[in-house]
């Protein structure tokens, strides 16, 4: 991280940034918030479109999209494709978005067995318990997949989660017009 470097002057037009969590745990968003008071500097340079931190319901045209979490259900795919259509630069944030992450440990199991185990057979469920089947609920995919297997991804921020300094280094590079490059200590997978 580079505290001493002068931050570029606020641009005429702020960078528009959307974020979302697919099969994520929101930990990557928390790590983004871990930049702490640097958030105040950040919002001089960016404004947020659809994000768990704003109230916007659909994603509009953006310069940057940050995706946390892998793909575990049909709604994840729709959201991811909407982000790809609207964002010039799309970033896979965190281990889940990059390689499926720990949720992908369910990939060796049959999804029907998993759902029945949790909703029907688990001790404490009612006699007539069923796997939820309302059409309003998105159907799970048979396997959790990383997002780069469905849409083109421009950058990856590895980590579970990436550190706040990794986010900050990435934003600093991007806002200065440099190709983001993570230095040695900023790449970790755990």
């Amino acid at each position: 991280m580079n505290d001493a470097a002068p931050y570029p002057a606020p641009p005429a037009r702020k960078l528009r940034v959307a974020t979302t969590s697919l099969a994520g745990c929101f930990g990557c968003h928390m790590s983004l918030l871990d930049i702490d008071e640097r958030l105040l500097t950040l919002i001089e340079h960016v404004e947020f479109d659809r994000s768990p931190l704003t109230d916007l319901k659909s994603v509009g045209p953006c310069d940057l999209g940050l995706i946390e979490g892998g793909l575990c259900n049909a709604e994840n795919i729709e959201v991811l494709q909407a982000f790809r259509a609207q964002c010039k630069v799309l970033v896979a944030v965190g281990a889940c978005a990059i390689n499926g992450g720990l949720p992908a440990q369910r990939n060796r199991l049959d999804i029907g067995d998993v759902l029945r185990e949790v909703y029907v057979h688990r001790p404490g469920t009612r006699e007539d318990a069923q796997v939820p089947s309302d059409p309003e609920l998105p159907l799970p995919l048979n396997q959790v997949r990383p997002i780069h297997e469905v849409v083109l991804i421009d950058y990856e921020l590895p980590g579970c989660p990436p550190s706040a300094d990794t986010f900050w280094a990435f934003f600093t590079d991007l806002l200065a017009g440099r190709t983001p490059r993570l230095a040695h200590g900023q790449i970790h997978y755990d």
């Binding site: 281990a95 990059i98 390689n99 440990q105 780069h148 040695h184 790449i187 755990d190």
Partner: protein, 248 residues
């Protein structure tokens, strides 16, 4: 003066002189003087394997694996070229997608040679489609755990068990993508093999495939091997304490 410098022989590695003895491989000679050539399947004190391909160097202009190529006096060896580094990153990405390398829950995270080498090569993502293999985990042994989904088939446990422990507990079997580690016991299970947690084979796995039980997550984050050392620092690479350089 050691016999290596006394021989007066040397070759050039990325423009710097590396002393050598007749019969040295490029990697052996470089490792002896603390010069880093990326590797996963090589270990000092064991014969070369040549499976990981990470040690590929240009030897007088030809690509060779440094662990198997004999050094030659006056040879010009290039290791850290951008093209070779990019090839190594691709090899690392192939190894990562081939197994289930979920570092966030792996007890070897921070102490893993594969992970540290990927950090060194600035690997941000896997690039290829995930295989998500479903190979059974062998937890039968009272002191050791074998997770085949993290095994990179470096064969270090095979060689260590055969040559250092004299037990031949492991072998690599199968063909192509079905290639896998097998255990020499009537049931095929680790519990029925001669493996002991004190064997050199038990401590040599460079990744999280073969691990002792009940000691996971004992090093605090920040104190793990590759929190403290970069993989290219001299002699920071091997999981187990280096055996004698002159053995086998």
């Amino acid at each position: 003066m050691s016999r290596y410098t006394a021989s007066g022989l040397s070759f050039l590695l990325d423009g710097e002189e590396v002393p050598m003895a007749p019969g040295d491989t490029v990697l052996q000679a470089a490792h002896r003087v603390g010069r880093y050539i990326p590797h996963l399947c090589w270990h000092p004190g064991l014969p070369a394997h040549g499976s990981c391909r990470l040690c590929m160097v240009n030897f007088n202009g030809r690509p060779v694996s440094a662990c198997t190529a004999l050094a030659a006096p006056g040879a010009v060896v290039e290791c850290q070229t951008p093209a070779l580094q990019a090839e190594r990153r691709t090899l690392l990405q192939m190894l990562f997608v081939e197994g289930n390398h979920f570092c966030p829950s792996c007890e070897r995270s921070g102490n893993c040679l594969l992970q540290a080498t990927a950090y060194q090569h600035e690997m941000a993502g896997p690039h290829f489609e995930e295989f998500y293999p479903d190979r059974p985990v062998d937890a039968s042994h009272p002191d050791m755990l074998l997770d085949h989904n993290r095994c990179i088939l470096c064969g270090l446990c095979v060689r260590a068990s055969e040559l250092l422990d004299g037990k031949s507990v492991f072998a690599i079997a199968g063909h192509g993508t079905q290639c896998h580690l097998v255990v020499n016991s009537p049931s095929g299970q680790l519990a029925d093999s001669a493996l002991s947690v004190h064997d050199q084979a038990a401590g040599i796995c460079p990744v999280g495939a073969l691990m002792p039980k009940r000691v996971g997550f004992k090093d605090p984050i920040g104190q793990r091997r590759y929190d403290l050392h970069r993989v290219d620092e001299p002699h920071s690479q091997e999981a187990a304490p280096p055996a004698s350089e002159d053995a086998p």
